[in-house]
Amino acid sequence: MADPALIVVQSADFNVSDEIARLTAGRTDIGGIGSFIGVVRGTAGGRPITAMTLEHYPGMTERALSRIADQAITRFDLQGVTLIHRVGALAPGDNIVLVLACAPHRKAALDGTAFLIDWLKTRAPFWKKERFADGTEAWVDAREADDAAARLWGDLA
């Protein structure tokens, strides 16, 4: 089996249709494609934000994302996975992350998608800094809810 995970960390935006076409090109064994797109919201804690900066740990990021993708492929018998995460300067409404998971049936595709984003949020070394409308900046705090969501899937090897 060829490596079925495409892992990309980039500052540029992504096109969802293009990524789906790349993931499924020439195949007729796929029955369902699950997807999640994370987007920069215009407020944080009720305060308007004007910009978000995404920092990451090059090298470890790709390693962590590949491991998460491999786990998902094995666990849900996925036919393919795409993980694209943006870094650098983003604005409200901008895309942050794209998760795609395809499988013969919808349950595996949707469960795989949820597993991938839950684990990415707790195990991939990205950090967000928000700039507020009043000019102040703050690093986003990790959410306990994210750890809890990831733990529901059990331990990651």
């Binding site: 920092e55 470890m60 992350v97 990205f126």
Partner: protein, 83 residues
């Protein structure tokens, strides 16, 4: 040894990367942190809230008792917030 700092740890230390010679007798992540806190007020402030500091050794998540050597790349950062 190569040390990396990310997010607010980088801002408190004052730089994102430094090379240090690991003193004899320091063999774990926890011992390294204790020693690093003495390097500068910025280092001390960066590690002041130990509960919020995460560590990776050679790009894998590590724990306070993970064993380190002078050839390792050790990174310190807050809990991740991507996605």
């Amino acid at each position: 040894m190569k040390l990396l700092y990310f997010a607010w740890l980088r801002e408190r230390v004052g730089h994102g990367e430094e090379s240090v010679a690991l003193p004899v007798g320091i063999t774990t992540v926890a011992e390294l942190i204790t020693w690093l806190r003495g390097r500068s007020p910025g280092h001390d402030m960066a590690f002041a809230h130990g509960r919020l500091v995460r560590c990776a050794v050679n790009e894998d998540f590590a724990t306070p008792d993970t064993v380190i050597t002078d050839r390792d790349e050790v990174a310190f950062f807050p809990p991740v917030t991507g996605g």
